[in-house]
Subunit: 138 residues, 3 copies
Amino acid sequence: MVVTKNLYLKTQGQCDIVDITPRVAKEVSASGVKDGLVTVFVSGSTAGLTTIEYESGLIADFKSLWQRIAPAGLPYEHDGRWGDGNGFSHVRASLLGASLVVPFAGGKLALGTWQQIVLVDFDNRPRSREVVLQIMGD
Amino acid sequence: MVVTKNLYLKTQGQCDIVDITPRVAKEVSASGVKDGLVTVFVSGSTAGLTTIEYESGLIADFKSLWQRIAPAGLPYEHDGRWGDGNGFSHVRASLLGASLVVPFAGGKLALGTWQQIVLVDFDNRPRSREVVLQIMGD
Amino acid sequence: MVVTKNLYLKTQGQCDIVDITPRVAKEVSASGVKDGLVTVFVSGSTAGLTTIEYESGLIADFKSLWQRIAPAGLPYEHDGRWGDGNGFSHVRASLLGASLVVPFAGGKLALGTWQQIVLVDFDNRPRSREVVLQIMGD
């Protein structure tokens, strides 16, 4: 059985980190699939997906990591050509990755207690985002 | 067909890198599924999964990479609030990712000869870990 | 339904970034599966997979990111032991990851308009690569 759903959300950009766990859990539950996996995929090239313990200290720490390894202030060739000023957003998104796969059994996601599914929006402005959830299983 | 299995393992923490390939291969074989994929997922927010050529030089090199890009010695807001001292562990885990998907055909994982599936435990102390294997296919 | 296909491609190594989107889309279309997911997996431990807006500025920017966080010029223990000189290639590949999962519905991949699937070959020489595509769904 395959069920495909789109989530729509608004972000603030600038490394905004949005907890989408409740919405993913709700769609898994609504699908009627008991054992299987949910693939979470963000359409677009300036956002990514991962899991994190969603507390404000770590949210700040994760943003600092990105500023350290892919700083916003460097010269990017993308910016020279296109003038969007979001070259840093693109390379961060490509490093983090656009897909995440989470198994579930008995309708329950295999997440740890302190582990949430998040969208990270690296773009340099507020965005409307489309996240595809695909639920597959029995 | 969907088969879900849990692997339990003990790690030393501190970027301990554990080769779980034989256990994954064994569960795929035992499942009776011939063609499909195995989703490997670690429950918890201070460990991640990837593949690597499992030899001691690279194990050391990969640890050095993490110390370079997400050093243990920086101030982390997570540590200021919670006192666990493992802020660096969390941000590393979120960057590496909690899931890995490996296809197999004819019962054989699509890994290269020098490519092993590993759990990387970034926590700052020994841990007991639960890794979910979900096997799906025909 | 499960369909497994291998893509064969040649790269220049040295962070060569190859757009494989048309080949993935073609195999999804040829499979006859309408709704499902395609798992893209690279066999080998010196290459990875991700998505990126495939334009020459960003290609250069993404290469610069890798040289910043996992420089080719550092001493690597792998190189001391095996003499391949590609320790940097291995740690980059382990960080980026060997698998990518893309959902599709109605035969159309859930990619954004400016989002391509790419193989990144981190090795220090030209390589022949095998990428496994596994298509699963209805």
